[in-house]
Symmetry: C2
Subunit: 495 residues, 2 copies
């Protein structure tokens, strides 16, 4: 099903001008919660299946937001799952009728929100489809299953609705911001939505209600195919793979230079990105980051940006091709088979991350590092430009390349380190981070940094076109528009 | 076509006992050159298409070996190719009738040896098939085109023979060893051969003649499918990707430890592998490397081996799955499209490789490093064990995982550095090295080395099973058998 605009009989649809294009959006917030019952008309029970990253967040946010509507939120888990206890601690129990074996739940609810791992979806989708009530709606939180069905030439079954509501942040952020919002003014994580099958003509309203109940500040339209491409690509890029690769490379370069203690190298790289760089981009955009620098530091930023941009773009093209061709989805499915026999290894066993633990315990004032900022901005912009080239809408680009990074993932990395951030995303994301992070490390260490030093530190040989295109990029206006629709509070992950 | 044993009316076929199995082989050498005309019966002209890595080597070796037989070796190149001049310098010219536009050559010869890049094969295979004379034979030097046709559900056309002769070494080695052999006793690079289509019942003899004319010490049978799996996998593993990743990681670890100068770190890692470690494995096998160490050094080797083995095995499983599923071939084809617009970047622009240039200019006695040796042997053995698990024959395993490394590729790396070695292989290999090398770097730096240091340097906690399996591995006998059939001289790449 294509993306051709949408109407809603329940929620007000607005048209915004963003990055030189028009997009339809629905704004969320607590003042819209009185519309949720109408949006979910016909739905008596919602089944949230799975308790990984998104499961706990969505089950709790939905239950909180739907209080008083009479709609019951039930959690469905594999028989004997370790998560039964965890769900119980959050109030989902067999005793109170809100926890059951997953197929029991799937059989009885009108909306199945399927948040089990991608591998488990691939393994169980036929049984899940068969168990659903006729006319019920299948809800996905990203397009992986659509991509898998594409890769094997299959379709969703007729007679059920199929929608996507895809929060542009990790599960813990979806929960944390919504909790914070209760006490202040309403906050959460932006969501895209997609309608893939709409047999009862109610799919748009259900999707919008779902997104608003999660706490989305605003909701924009996509397709499941655009979603899986941008999502699987984005997490392999700047959201997880690239940010990890960048900091591993820069930490190496700075410590090997002999001019930095290991502690200072960590502060100039990891701490810089997850702290001040992310905070400034969140508030003032990527262009706002650039505007922090003057004189010599501005030259360093520009040179670093220009040194990395084209190498990162080439790697990002490769990742996009791998995702769009189905290769990456086949890889994840094959990895699922192998992972039955061994665990995924830890990614933070080196000295660098021990030093990070010390740095986090003993924080002090930190100056922006123009080299790190330029490299990070260069990779981020390469991702923005590639997604635009591939036809994604500005809301998707901004959320998948910038907002999710600076407002969801990086704050968790700032709080607890790289492994905590990566391992609180989906297994598909964890696999992709381990696969592509090392490539970004090489882009920075073997390509960008040697280029940076090739002509000394003078900026005269910078590719002016590259930097000119940065200054004039429509993403800056697009991010400013998104900022007007962002949560009124910053995420606070300590607590 | 399966692999079911073979007979030859021209060349003596022997059965050898290797690694506990029987394999049929044909031994080469200059004393067999008098059989080449009979092996090539019916072939008046051989067209060598392409002038990349294998092209120059095979064209020259064939011409030399066939001197006096009346069989003409012609080179075919794209119109306007830069390689026309290079081929001319080696005596292949339009004037003397041994150089022409590639389709002109394909149309007139009885054996087309297709050595253009994999990307060019993918782009031109239909025209090439159509241009061949009925009854002619298509010769491939690895199974990539078979894999590509598999991935798109196509077949070779009927009416032509299709064979593979696959030298287990880079083009420059194929040429260099054959040249050396002229003056001493006969030498070259082992080849596998495969018969895919055999309409005239002469395919086995043509393949054997081709391999022996290249200078192969011995020839063993495979299928094009086994060949592309082991070949594409092997070069992503220990032959190129893994060896590069290992040395990048170990150089990092040693320099960051503060106990090594950069020069000493390079000597303990890169120089150790490409120099003494490769020489000892070449002469005495992997078990012979282990036997060099005593006491404390032996413990370091064992602990390093056990620390890396299982992590490397997991990554190698992933690579094998990617190759066998067709993903890797699709990736190479997609990269070919992207490479029309940019060049592949250099991989030796960092300080480490500048230090390597200095080390190579000023060589001195070098002690074996047990840590480097243990890591290298652990990764190599993981590859050996995985190929056995996947059903490859011992000749293929030994040549693709050990002999090609220590007798062909590593000596070139020792001579001119990493980029020279990698960039003198096929583009498919270059792409794979850039893709998987960083993953091996992470296996060593983020997994093996932290594991190595976890319990101090005592060996008491080594996984004894892993090491026991090394000591009793049938590969040691298999390599000893291969050694009896190896060239009587070592490759000398200086000169």
């Amino acid at each position: 099903m294509g993306k051709k605009g949408f109407t809603s009989t329940v929620f007000p649809v607005e048209t915004i001008s963003i990055g030189g294009t028009d997009e339809q959006v629905v704004k969320g917030g607590r003042d819209k919660f009185n519309l949720l019952a109408a949006g979910f008309a016909g739905i008596k029970q919602i089944g949230v299946i799975g308790w990984g990253s998104q499961g706990p967040a969505q089950a709790q946010n939905l239950r909180d937001s739907l209080e008083g509507t009479g709609i019951v939120v039930k959690v469905g888990l594999r028989a004997g799952s370790d998560s039964v206890k965890k769900a119980g601690e959050k109030g989902f129990t067999e005793e109170n009728g809100t926890l059951s074996e997953m197929f029991e739940v799937i059989k009885e609810v009108e909306l199945v929100i399927l948040l089990i791992s991608d591998a488990a979806q691939v393994e169980n989708y036929k049984e899940i489809f068969a168990a659903m009530k006729p006319g019920a709606t299948l809800g996905l939180s990203h397009g992986f299953l659509r991509g898998h069905l594409d890769s094997i030439g299959e379709e969703f079954p007729g007679g059920i609705g199929v929608i996507g509501v895809c929060p542009k942040g990790m599960g813990p952020s979806v929960r944390r911001l919504d909790e914070q919002g209760k006490e202040i003014s309403g906050a959460g994580i932006n969501c895209s939505f997609a309608v893939e099958q709409n047999p009862n003509d109610n799919a748009v309203d259900i999707a919008l209600a779902w997104a608003i109940a999660l706490g989305a500040p605003y909701v924009f339209q996509t397709t499941l195919r655009d979603e899986y491409k941008s999502d699987i690509f984005g997490e392999r890029g700047i959201l997880l793979g690239a940010v990890w690769g960048i900091v591993e490379a820069l930490y190496y370069v700075l410590t090997m230079s002999g001019n930095f203690s290991k502690r200072d190298a960590f502060r100039s790289t990891v701490e810089n990105i997850t702290g001040p760089i992310s905070r400034i981009i969140s508030a003032q955009g990527i262009i706002g980051l650039y505007q922090q620098f003057q004189g010599k530091e501005k030259e360093i930023f520009e040179k670093a940006y220009a040194s990395v941009y084209s190498y990162a773009y080439v790697l990002l093209m490769e990742i996009y091709d791998e995702v769009a061709s189905g290769n990456e989805i086949r890889s994840v499915v094959m990895a699922g088979e192998r992972l039955k026999n061994y665990d995924m290894s830890k990614i933070d066993r080196t000295e660098m991350w021990e030093i990070g633990d010390q740095v986090r315990k003993d924080r002090s004032e930190l100056a922006l590092d123009p080299l790190t900022a330029g490299i990070y901005a260069g990779v981020m912009m390469a991702q923005v430009d590639l997604l635009k080239e591939k036809g994604h809408c500005w809301s998707e680009i901004c959320n998948e390349s910038v907002i999710e990074a600076v407002d969801s993932l990086n704050p968790y990395m700032h709080y607890k380190g790289i492994a905590f951030m990566v391992d609180n995303c989906s297994r598909t994301a964890r696999l992709g981070t381990r696969k592509w992070g090392p490539r970004f490390e090489h882009v920075v260490r073997l390509e960008a940094i040697p280029t940076y030093y090739e002509d000394g530190e003078q900026t005269k040989n910078i590719d002016e076109l590259v930097f000119e295109s940065f200054r004039n990029n429509p993403v800056h206006q697009a991010l400013a528009v998104c900022a007007t629709m962002r949560p009124a509070i910053d995420i606070s992950v300590v607590g």
